[in-house]
């Protein structure tokens, strides 16, 4: 029988700086995340000197629900930050983890999420070296539902790969656009479990740390000009950025864009455009025309790039637009989405 003072949920006192807080950190965070830097419990982590320039990034994660098909907020947070550092052309070396827990959060949920954080960090080979935990009062949602929430902030540092110059300014007409696999799966998987619009599907989030895949790509020697992870806003967002900032056109061939039939139908049902639907494990890579095959086979050699494909190319265009050559053989422009995409009526 559980002791009456055993907690199965987070209470405010877990954030109070006392013994309960120690217990929370020791039992629920340090044990699963165990690594040499974290175990010191200093006020910060000491990192070894870096040979190259540093990349430093931060991101916050507030997704609901916390757990969804194929992943959870923890995998999202680690993969997201690892990918943000990596697409800058860097090797991620350390991550910080800030947790904001709402009182009432069941420990079993916290434990599952911390376990995913540990697993994803291990997969990426990037340690969580410092962290912080706060507990906030339970916020009753305006819909009357309990909070039981969890928010994560992660920051990541990394060292620029020697000789790596992935920057948007290097993009030129003729360059080829690649993606590393089927798009739109994260956004649709989340939509499928959103309160009020749930539907049954085999779709899973694609959240994954892509550092190993992208480092393989770098080492392949292919002339990669630019890499960006296509998260919120989907690949349409990244392509619009390229067109707008470089005053160049981008032509995408719809037939070559990897998209599973399940995702296509789910997007169709909801009236969403897969091109502007979120991904968490997909990058847009712009490579020199001469190195397309080399780049694709490099991506395909990795588990997160087996379905990598060339989807279009950079062209001269005035005005600078992203255009889609559709499956039906027509043309239309692609724009970045303007806010939260809502499912349509019928």
């Amino acid at each position: 029988m559980p002791h009456p003072h055993d907690h199965d949920r987070v209470v405010l006192a877990h954030g109070g700086g006392g013994e309960l807080m120690n217990q929370l950190i020791r039992d629920h965070l340090l044990t699963p995340l165990r690594n040499d830097a974290l175990i010191q419990l200093g006020d910060g982590a000491v990192l070894p000197p870096s040979e190259g320039k540093l990349v430093f990034t931060t991101d916050s994660y507030v997704v609901t629900p916390l757990e969804f098909p194929g992943g959870d907020i923890g995998r999202l947070a680690i993969a997201g930050t690892v990918n943000d550092v990596t697409v800058m052309g860097a090797v991620p070396t350390a991550i910080s983890l800030g947790l904001i827990l709402e009182e009432g959060l069941p420990f079993e949920v916290l434990d599952r999420i911390v376990a995913t954080i540990a697993k994803t960090a291990e997969e990426a080979g990037v340690p969580v070296v410092t962290g912080d935990t706060k507990v906030i009062e339970r916020r009753i949602g305006r819909d009357g539902s309990p909070g039981d929430g969890l928010f994560i902030n992660t920051a990541g540092v990394g060292t620029i790969l020697p000789g790596c110059d992935w920057s948007i300014g290097r993009i030129e007409p003729g360059d080829v656009i690649l993606v590393n696999g089927p798009i739109a799966e994260h956004g649709l998987a989340i939509m499928s479990v959103r309160n009020g619009i749930e539907f049954e599907t085999s779709l899973r989030t694609d959240a994954a740390p892509l550092n190993h895949m992208l480092h393989t790509l770098f080492k392949s020697g292919a002339d990669v000009k630019f890499v960006r992870d296509a998260t919120r806003g989907g690949i349409a967002g990244v392509l619009s950025d390229i067109a707008e900032t470089q005053s160049l056109g981008v032509e995408i061939d719809e037939q070559s864009v990897p998209l599973t039939p399940t995702a296509r139908h789910a997007a169709e049902m909801l009236g969403l455009d897969p091109l502007s639907t979120a991904n968490e494990g997909k990058v847009v890579c712009v490579v020199d025309e001469a190195d397309v095959d080399k780049a694709i086979s490099s991506l395909q050699s990795h588990q997160y790039g087996t379905k990598a494909a060339a989807i279009g190319r950079v062209v001269e265009s005035d005005p600078p637009l992203v255009e889609l050559i559709t499956r039906a053989g027509g043309r239309r422009v692609v724009q970045r989405p303007y806010g939260e995409e809502l499912p349509r009526i019928c």
């Binding site: 305006r142 009020g196 009236g271 499956r327 053989g329 239309r332 349509r344 019928c346």
Partner: protein, 370 residues
């Protein structure tokens, strides 16, 4: 789709249209509007073949007074307003449901009317009001939910009835005669419910060819090819290019549900005013689920922005680029009219998918009788 087959149909369309003068075909349904843009098919059509978007986007045709009523209800204590996607963005006289939600009101986006009953069950102390919009496609789901609410004695659910019917709107447009239309591409989803024969009055009374089509490129293309063939042959005929899904008689179960729960009634359409027998009200034996009655809603007048031409857009009288607001004051980010709000709206589709976006008027002006 098969590229050779596509090219063959496109070539045929060009041959048919060659020498015909301007052909104006109305696609009634917002999903067709978006599909025609999203698939890029419009870019392949002959110049004198003009697709005109009609009043088939449920968001766009909902009168401002109904939006205002929903906003009024959402402001009341203990009320949850639930509705489909884009409805929450449509501006009423002051603000939208989306803005009200940001201010703390309880507004839920759902994709099935049935979710309302779950909400009602989870919130026994509160009233769940369903802003029931849409054509014959979504109306049967509302009917089914009303029946289920009655069977289970759900006391805290009601519907603000804004459902509309397609055929009376088509008849009203043709009677008004402001836009010369040569034929109709009829909506796939709605026709699943009402059946292809429902368009017979349009064909017989107004001598306009009607073709029911699905939403995939091959089905749309085939549908348009058939309309143009009928037009070229001066044939007022009814065809069904969506036979594997749409029957002549429609879905009997859904039609029975509509008959059982609703009665047709005169209703307000955005800018079109009242169209006789074009809406659905709850039959008197289900009026306890009528939110307008339960909450004694007083419907005000519509005060649409006088510069906004959505009302004319949904009648096919003008194209989005003819509106001075389009692409300038009115964009998907800051929509003024519902046609820019809705993902199925004509203005939104033009803005999103047209190469010229908001910056240019079309080179071939729309032909109207006004």
């Amino acid at each position: 789709m098969d590229a050779a087959k596509r090219d063959e149909i496109i070539k045929h369309l060009h041959e048919l249209c060659d020498g015909l003068g301007r052909i104006q075909i109305m696609e009634i349904c917002g999903t067709h509007t978006v599909s025609l843009f999203r698939t890029g098919l419009r870019s392949l059509f002959p110049e004198n073949l003009r697709l005109v978007s009609g009043p088939g986007c449920p968001v766009c045709v909902t009168a401002q007074r109904h939006i205002d009523a929903a906003i009024d209800l959402a402001k009341r204590d203990g009320v949850i307003v639930a509705t489909y996607g884009d409805m929450i963005r449509v501006p009423g006289k002051s603000g939208s449901l989306e803005r009200l939600r940001a201010e703390g009101a309880d507004v839920r986006v759902i994709n099935s009317a049935k979710t309302c009953l779950r909400l009602a069950n989870e919130n026994p102390d509160r009233e769940v009001v369903f802003l029931a919009v849409g054509f014959e496609t979504t109306a049967p789901a509302t009917a089914a939910v009303v029946l289920e609410a009655e069977a289970n004695g759900v006391a805290n659910f009601s519907a603000l009835m804004c459902h509309k019917l397609v055929i009376p709107a088509m008849q009203a447009l043709l009677q008004a005669g402001d836009v010369p239309l040569d034929g109709f591409l009829c909506p796939g989803h709605v026709s699943v419910i009402i059946g292809a024969n429902a368009y017979k009055p349009i064909v017989e009374q107004f001598k306009k060819p009607c073709v029911v089509a699905g939403f995939e490129p091959p089905s749309i293309l085939h549908g348009i090819e058939l309309v143009v063939e009928h037009v070229a042959a001066k044939r007022a005929a009814l065809s069904n290019a969506y036979r594997n899904v749409v029957s002549n008689e429609g879905n009997g179960i859904a039609l029975d549900l509509l008959k059982q729960v609703f009665v047709s009634a005169d209703t307000h359409w955005r800018e079109l005013g009242v169209i006789p027998k074009s809406g659905l009200e709850l039959a008197s034996c289900y009026e306890q689920f009528d939110a307008a009655k339960r909450f004694e809603v007083v419907f005000g007048d519509d005060e649409d922005n006088p510069l906004c031409r959505c009302g004319e857009v949904i009648q096919g009288k003008v194209e989005p680029a003819d509106c001075d607001l389009f692409g300038y004051e009115c964009t998907p980010l800051y929509p003024i009219g519902p046609c820019m709000v809705s993902s199925e709206g004509t203005c939104s589709a033009w803005y999103k998918y047209n190469r010229d976006g908001g910056s240019h008027r079309s080179s071939v002006p729309l032909e109207t009788n006004s």
